[in-house]
């Protein structure tokens, strides 16, 4: 069953008088529990597509369905709620709120979800253990390494038990060993919790890990292969 359906979606950016078609009639489905990598050269539209799926942006043409729900029919607050409850995000950098500790950054999203205190504490502790950061719980982001920061971001993305995790170049700032650990961790979560993962990436290692590889070029899908 598909969790996300992208239906002939186009996105056009305007800069002054020039308009640029970042996505051109892209159609694509994602099934529950998939581990997908979106690849393609810089400027091919990976981030744009991920943003549309994550309801961070709206398409100019076409429609995105998230669990049968047409995203273009949702208002701003409804889209915020969808992101909060159904989607986990991992970005390339600046994932964490700088004034909050690792534990608080994870707690933050549960708090937005109005999870009660007792459950929150447990979930935060569990997930920190899962990503191996129990001893860094009360460190602030600037006291964590890049890899540790990304692990906190993954922990935060996953702690709410979302249906989909969208990760935009999560390994771009990491060395390959750290990147591999992070990917192994996400693969583990994908397998145990059946969470759908969609990556936008240049990193061959990410493509290696993926079960399915979608390649974009100039805003179009050029290949879509399952492994």
């Amino acid at each position: 069953m598909e969790i996300i359906r992208v239906d002939s979606v186009s996105k056009v950016y305007h800069q002054g008088r020039v308009s640029f078609r970042a996505l051109d009639k892209v159609s694509l489905d994602f099934k529950k529990g998939e581990f997908v990598a979106l690849a393609g050269p810089s400027g091919s539209g990976k981030t744009t597509l991920l943003n549309l799926i994550g309801s961070l942006d709206v398409p100019d043409e076409g429609e995105v369905f998230f669990d049968q729900k047409n995203l273009s029919e949702l208002n701003d607050s409804e889209r915020a709620d969808l992101r909060l409850h159904r989607i986990g995000f991992v970005f390339q950098a600046y994932n964490l709120i700088p004034v909050l500790t690792a534990a608080e950054n994870i707690d933050y999203i549960l708090l937005l979800q109005k999870v009660d205190k007792f459950l929150r504490t447990r979930k935060v502790n569990d997930i920190l253990q899962e990503v191996g950061l129990t001893d860094k719980a009360s460190n602030r982001p600037d006291e964590l390494s890049g890899g540790q920061q990304q692990r906190v971001a993954v922990a935060r993305a996953i702690v709410t038990d979302p249906q989909v995790v969208l990760a935009d170049e999560p390994t771009a700032n990491l060395d390959s060993t750290t990147g591999r650990k992070l990917l192994e961790m996400m693969q583990q979560m994908n397998r145990t919790k059946k969470v759908t993962f969609i990556f936008a990436t240049h990193d061959p290692m990410v493509m290696d890990f993926a079960d399915r590889l979608v390649s974009l070029k100039d805003g179009r899908i050029v290949s879509d292969t399952a492994k």
Partner: protein
């Protein structure tokens, strides 16, 4: 989410101290602003209270009974006959702690061997003036008027000096009797008084009521009965007016009229009534200067943290949540500023300026307005509440501007610029 969940409060609090220098600067501005509001309003109020007290002390009293004609033409013709009897009757109407002073007050001339000068001659019962007017206070030099002293006279220190006189010197006082005849009598200066206003010192001389009556062959006459209420709050309207009505009922048919100080001193009464409005205007003016700084500082802080707001939005925080977080931060700034400012103001008023400030350097200009040379600041709860209220309300209103800005950042916009 509850409105003030701990984490939002923590985020806002910690964000506040990410740039301690900036926060300190804007806090200083807020603190200085509020201090100037409170301390200056305390001086304003002190000045006003001093002014009211001076004016009432200045032979006015809270209520005055006069022949209405006297106010137009202050001559012996427009006198109160059998003043003592009327005073006694009126006294029965009023509570025990009220003080009545019967006076005969007329224009006249004071002559020394060298000079003549126009003065206001006031015949008083010295005992009745205690606690009622400035002449009831201890003298500057010499001895008080004794009740039976038919030739004793008190003079203002200012006039004494101007005329080159001394205590014990003889002077001649001249005034007109009911038939328009000039009457004069020699007096000896027993003492000199100091008044808040130089003008008062140069204008009023005091003699015994009885001896003034004798001099004018007008036994039992007076021109005013001045009534002073104990504990009468100068600002409260109502009490004085109640008494005025009651007294006027009793005076009906005697051709006399009782008037409250608000009618006697209309300019001061109006000033008091306007005072709160003046203060409010002053507070708003100070705030405007402060508010720009506040809005700018918070706006700067908000732009610096654009990316975090974008992140929070991406994670699913609604724009109202962003507004809330910025507003909590603004509220923190305001509350800290207010707490510090209130403490400092209290310290300034109660400790540093406890003994008042001397406006002597501003000289005569100030006295003209009935303002004392020394002003004691008066902290009033209502001023403090109003100053803080203005700061919180307008502060939050101003804070809304950067908050709305922050809420407008969209995640893609802010996260793109890495």
């Amino acid at each position: 989410m509850r409105f003030f969940d701990l984490l939002s409060v923590q985020i806002s609090w910690r964000n506040l101290w990410r740039n301690p220098r900036r926060t300190t600067i804007i806090l200083t501005a807020i603190v200085v602003g509020i201090i100037s509001m409170i301390v200056l309003s305390a001086f304003g109020r002190g000045m006003m209270e001093g002014m009211v007290k001076n004016s009432i002390d200045n032979l006015v009293g809270h209520i005055k009974i006069q022949n209405p004609q006297y106010r137009i033409d202050p001559a012996i013709d427009n006198r109160i006959d059998q003043a003592e009897k009327i005073a006694a009757q009126i006294g029965e109407l009023l509570p025990d702690d009220v003080q009545l002073a019967t006076r005969l007050r007329l224009d006249g001339v004071l002559s020394t061997s060298r000079e003549h000068t126009g003065v206001m001659i006031v015949g008083i019962d010295p005992a009745a003036e205690k606690g009622v007017s400035f002449i009831g206070r201890p003298l500057y030099q010499g001895t008080p008027l004794q009740p039976e002293d038919a030739r004793g006279l008190l003079i203002g220190q200012g006039l004494l000096e101007r005329l080159g006189l001394e205590i014990g010197k003889k002077v001649v006082v001249l005034s007109q009797d009911a038939s328009g005849e000039g009457r004069s009598k020699a007096f000896r200066i027993r003492g000199s008084y100091r008044a808040e206003m130089r003008d008062t010192e140069k204008r009023y001389i005091f003699i015994n009521l009885k001896s003034f009556q004798d001099m004018l062959a007008a036994p039992g006459s007076a021109t005013e009965i001045s009534i002073s209420l104990r504990n009468a709050n100068a600002y409260q309207t109502g009490t004085v007016e109640d008494y005025v009505d009651r007294i006027n009922e009793r005076l009906d048919g005697l051709g006399l009229e009782a008037t409250g100080w608000r009618q006697l001193l209309p300019a001061i009464a109006a000033y008091i009534d306007m005072f709160d409005v003046y203060m409010l205007i002053w507070f708003v003016v100070v705030f405007v200067a402060m508010g720009f700084g506040l809005a700018n500082t918070v706006l700067m802080a908000v732009y610096e943290r654009m990316r975090e707001f974008g992140l929070q939005r991406a994670l699913g925080l609604r724009s109202s949540g962003i507004i809330k977080n910025v507003m909590i931060e603004v509220l923190f700034l305001l509350l800290i500023g207010m707490a510090l400012a209130d403490l400092c103001s209290f310290f300034l008023v109660k400790v540093v300026f406890r003994s008042g400030i001397d406006l002597g350097s501003f000289g005569a200009g100030i006295e003209m307005w009935g303002i004392s040379r020394i002003v004691y600041p008066v902290l009033s709860l209502s001023d403090i509440v109003m100053a803080n209220g203005v700061v919180v309300l307008l502060g939050l209103l101003v804070g809304l501007y950067p908050a709305l800005h922050a809420a407008r950042f969209t995640p893609i916009e802010t996260m793109r610029h890495l």
